[in-house]
Symmetry: none
Subunit: 429 residues, 2 copies
C-alpha cells in the first residue's frame, strides 16, 4: 500500500485565519478507499518552503497530495514549486487554456489575463481536470515518487479526488483491499472508563481490524475499521468484535454509524405513536434545539416550555408556589423537576414530557446544591419521577451534559431501559 502524505498550502492556514478542513476531507476519502495518510503537513504560499516540504514528505511517503496555491494570482506558486521539485519547466498547456477560457466565455465574459497562469503546468505532468473551477491539478512522477496537486476550494477538490485521484492511486498501486468502517456511539461513559472496559477485549492478531476512540463531547464514539482482501471478511471481522463488545457497553450504546441521539429518541417515540413535550429551566431551550436539529421532528416534538423564572414555572407548568417559599424544596429539586415534567405533559398534547432544572453556574451554587447539580424529570401516563445528576464544571459543559442526559432519559423511558447511573453525586456537607 502506498504511503501518502497530505500537504495543505496557504498563508490563510498557517496564520490560523482558516481552519484546514481539506486535510480531513482527503484523509477520510482516501482511507475509505484503502489508502492511509499518516502524515499531514501545512505550509504557506512560499515556493522555497513548498519545495523543501515536498522533499521532506517524500522521505516518509511515496505520494504527496497537495491542496491550494493553484489560483491565478502571484501568490499561487504550487505548480512552480512542483516543477522545481521535479527539475522541469512550467509550460503552457493549450488545451487547458482553452478549457479555462471557455469557463468565462460560457458566462459571457472575457477571460481575465491572470487566469492564463493556471494553464502553466509542470512539463510532463498529467492533468487532473477540474469540473467545477478554473484551476486544474496535475499528477507528476520523479524517480518513483509522486506528487498530486489539487485546488484549495473544498467544492472543487472533492470531485477531482473522486473522479481522478482515487482511481489513479488504487490502480497504480494495485490496491485490492476493501476497507469497512463501523461506528458505535455511546453516552454516559468517561473516556477512561471506556478504556478500562475495552482493555478486556482482545483485538484479532491478524492486524486487519483497528479500534479507535472518538470523543465528541458529551458522546464517545468507537470506530471499528477493517481492511481485508474482500468485503465479506472485513464485515465479519467487524461483526465479531462488535458482538463481543456490545454486552460490555450495555444501554450506554445508543446507536451506530450515522445515528444521532435525538433522532434515535424521536424514532422510538414515533414507533410508539407517542408525542413529546419539554420543560427547561437551566438548559434554556437547548433540549428543544437538539430535538429540532433533526429534520422531521415536528410530528413527534409537540411543544416546549422555557421556564427560566419561578413565575413562569408556576404559570405555564402549574408548579406549586409553596415550593419556592422559604423552607420549600426550591427550583432545583426532585419535587420541582417532577412538577415541571407533569405540568408539561398535562398542558400539552404530549404523551411523554421531560424536565430539566439545575444550577448551571458560574454563580448560584450553594453548599447544598453546588454548581452542576441537575434534576431531570420524566412524566408518562404510567407515572412521573426525577433523578439527580451532578456535573460540576463550566456553564456550557453543565448545560450540554444536562441536555444530553435529558434526551437520554427519554430514550430509557421509551425503550424501557434502566435509568442511567449518575456519573457522580454532589459532595455532602
Amino acid at each position: 500500500m502506498p504511503r501518502v502524505a497530505v500537504l495543505t498550502i496557504g498563508d490563510e492556514l498557517t496564520s490560523g485565519r482558516v481552519v484546514d478542513r481539506n486535510a480531513s476531507t482527503l484523509a477520510t476519502r482516501l482511507r475509505d478507499a484503502g489508502i492511509e495518510t499518516p502524515i499531514h503537513l501545512t505550509c504557506g504560499d512560499d515556493e522555497d518552503v513548498i519545495v523543501r516540504w515536498l522533499r521532506t514528505a517524500h522521505e516518509a511517503a511515496d505520494v504527496v497530495v497537495t491542496t491550494g496555491g493553484l489560483g491565478p494570482t502571484d501568490d499561487d506558486v504550487t505548480h512552480a514549486a512542483v516543477a522545481r521539485w521535479a527539475g522541469v519547466e512550467l509550460e503552457l498547456h493549450d488545451d487547458v487554456l482553452e478549457t479555462i477560457r471557455h469557463r468565462f466565455t460560457d458566462r459571457g465574459i472575457v477571460m481575465p489575463e491572470p487566469n492564463r497562469r493556471q494553464a502553466m503546468l509542470p512539463a510532463g505532468a498529467t492533468v487532473v481536470p477540474n469540473p467545477l473551477g478554473t484551476a486544474p491539478g496535475v499528477v507528476l512522477e520523479r524517480e518513483g515518487k509522486w506528487v498530486v496537486t489539487l485546488p484549495g476550494v473544498p467544492r472543487e477538490l472533492a470531485p477531482m479526488l473522486e473522479e481522478t485521484v482515487v482511481p489513479f492511486l488504487r490502480t497504480h498501486f494495485r490496491i485490492e483491499s476493501v476497507v469497512k468502517v463501523r461506528i458505535l456511539k455511546t453516552f454516559g461513559f468517561t473516556e477512561s472508563r471506556l478504556a478500562e472496559i475495552l482493555a478486556g477485549v482482545s483485538v484479532p492478531a491478524h492486524g486487519g481490524l483497528r479500534i479507535g476512540y472518538r470523543p465528541i463531547f458529551p458522546e464517545i464514539h468507537l470506530s471499528l475499521t477493517a481492511s481485508a482482501a474482500d468485503e465479506a471478511t472485513a464485515v465479519a471481522w467487524i461483526s465479531e468484535y462488535e458482538e463481543r463488545v456490545r454486552p460490555l457497553l450495555g444501554h450506554r450504546l445508543w446507536g451506530v454509524d450515522d445515528d444521532e441521539l435525538a433522532g434515535v429518541v424521536l424514532d422510538g417515540l414515533r414507533r410508539g405513536g407517542l408525542r413529546l413535550a419539554t420543560a427547561e429551566s437551566c438548559t434554556g431551550g437547548l433540549v428543544g434545539k437538539l430535538l429540532t436539529d433533526v429534520a422531521g421532528s415536528s410530528d413527534v416534538y409537540e411543544r416546549g416550555f422555557i421556564t427560566y423564572t419561578n413565575e413562569a414555572k408556576q404559570d405555564l407548568l402549574g408548579v406549586p408556589p409553596d415550593l419556592f417559599a422559604p423552607g420549600g424544596a426550591g427550583a432545583v429539586s426532585e419535587a420541582c423537576a417532577c412538577a415541571m415534567a407533569l405540568g408539561a405533559r398535562e398542558r400539552s398534547a404530549a404523551d411523554v414530557a421531560v424536565s430539566v432544572t439545575g444550577v448551571a453556574g458560574p454563580s448560584g451554587g450553594t453548599a447544598d446544591k453546588p454548581v452542576g447539580t441537575v434534576w431531570i424529570g420524566v412524566s408518562t401516563r404510567d407515572g412521573t419521577s426525577a433523578r439527580m445528576h451532578f456535573y460540576p464544571g463550566p456553564r456550557s459543559w453543565v448545560r450540554t451534559l444536562s441536555a444530553y442526559t435529558a434526551i437520554d432519559s427519554i430514550r430509557r423511558v421509551v425503550l424501557q431501559l434502566p435509568d442511567l447511573d449518575p456519573l457522580a453525586r454532589p459532595p455532602r456537607r
Copy 2:
C-alpha cells in the same frame, strides 16, 4: 523572534475523522502574541513517528508546540515520545498525581487507575497546569530546542496557552514588541461585501497594523492587530483605523472584543428595565439557548415558548385558528409571526417579545414559501411588527441565521436602530 512549529497528534486527525481546529487556534493565538507559526505538522498516536517529526520540525523551528496524546489510555504516547526525543525517562510527578486524583474525589468518585499515566512526565520537564482537565502539559528543552505539549481537547488547551505557554514564550524569547488586538464584531454582512467596504480604507504603510477577517458563522469579526514598540503607539494605530471604519460598518457593528451578541442584547434590556420572552417555531429553542448561554440572563429572560405545532401556537400564544385554515396565511406568515410575538408578550411578565417562524427544510418548502423563508416578529408596548428574511440553505444554516437575526432584531428595537435590510428576498413565482 522564535520560529514555532505546531505538531498536532492523533489518529483521529490523520484518519480524517476529526477536523483539526487546534492548529488554527494555536496559530491565531500565538500570532496575536507576536509569534508566527509557519509550519504545521500532523501525525498519528505513534511514538516512533512523533519522535521523528519532533526532530524534523526542529530542523526548521526553535519550538515545537504539540497538541493531543496526553490522555489516560495506551494510545496516548506524546509524553513518552517527548522523553525519548530528549533522552530522558518518564517519571511519576507526585504533586500532579494528587491534582488529578482530586479532580475525581471532588466529584465523589475514585480515580480510575489509567489516569495515573497522566502523571508520568518526562524527567526535568516543567509542568503546564491544566485548570480544566486531568492532563497537564510540559515544557522541555534540549540543546537549545524546545517542546511544549498541550492536550487535544480545545476547551482545555485554550487557558493553558493563555496562562502559561504564551507568557513563557514571550519571556524566554524576549519578545518585547507590544501586541494589541481589537476585535470588531458584525452581523449581517457577507464576507465579500465586507471586503468591498474595507478595500476603500487604507492600512498605514508602516506595516505595524494588520487587518484580518474571522468569519465565525453567522457573525464576521474583524481583527485589528497592532505590533509596536510601546502600548500607546499600538493603541493609537488601532484607534485611528477603527474610527475610519466604524461609520462604514454602521449598525451591523454590534460589539467589540469579548462582547457576545446575546449579552449585548440582554444588557440593553437590563438597562431599560425590560424583560424578554421568546416564541419559537422553526428554531425550536435555539434563541432561548443562545440567550441563556449568557450567565445571569435569568433577570432579563423571563420565559420562552417552543411552539412547534400549530396547536401549540394556538394554545400557548393565542394565534387565531383561522390562520391555519385553508386560505389562511399559514404558520409561516407576517400575521402568524405578529400573533406569536404579541401572544408571548401578553402571556408572560415580559415587556418585549420576539418570534420566529419559518421553513428550515430540507422539506416543507413551496413555490410561495421556499426553504429559507423566515418571518421574525417583535412586540413591545409600542406595537407589534414582523419582517421577512430569506436564508436559502441547509437546515442548520437556516436555523442559526434565523436565531441570530431574531436576537439582532431585539437589539435593534431596544437600541432604537433601523431594521436590518434582509440579505435576500425569496423568488417570486
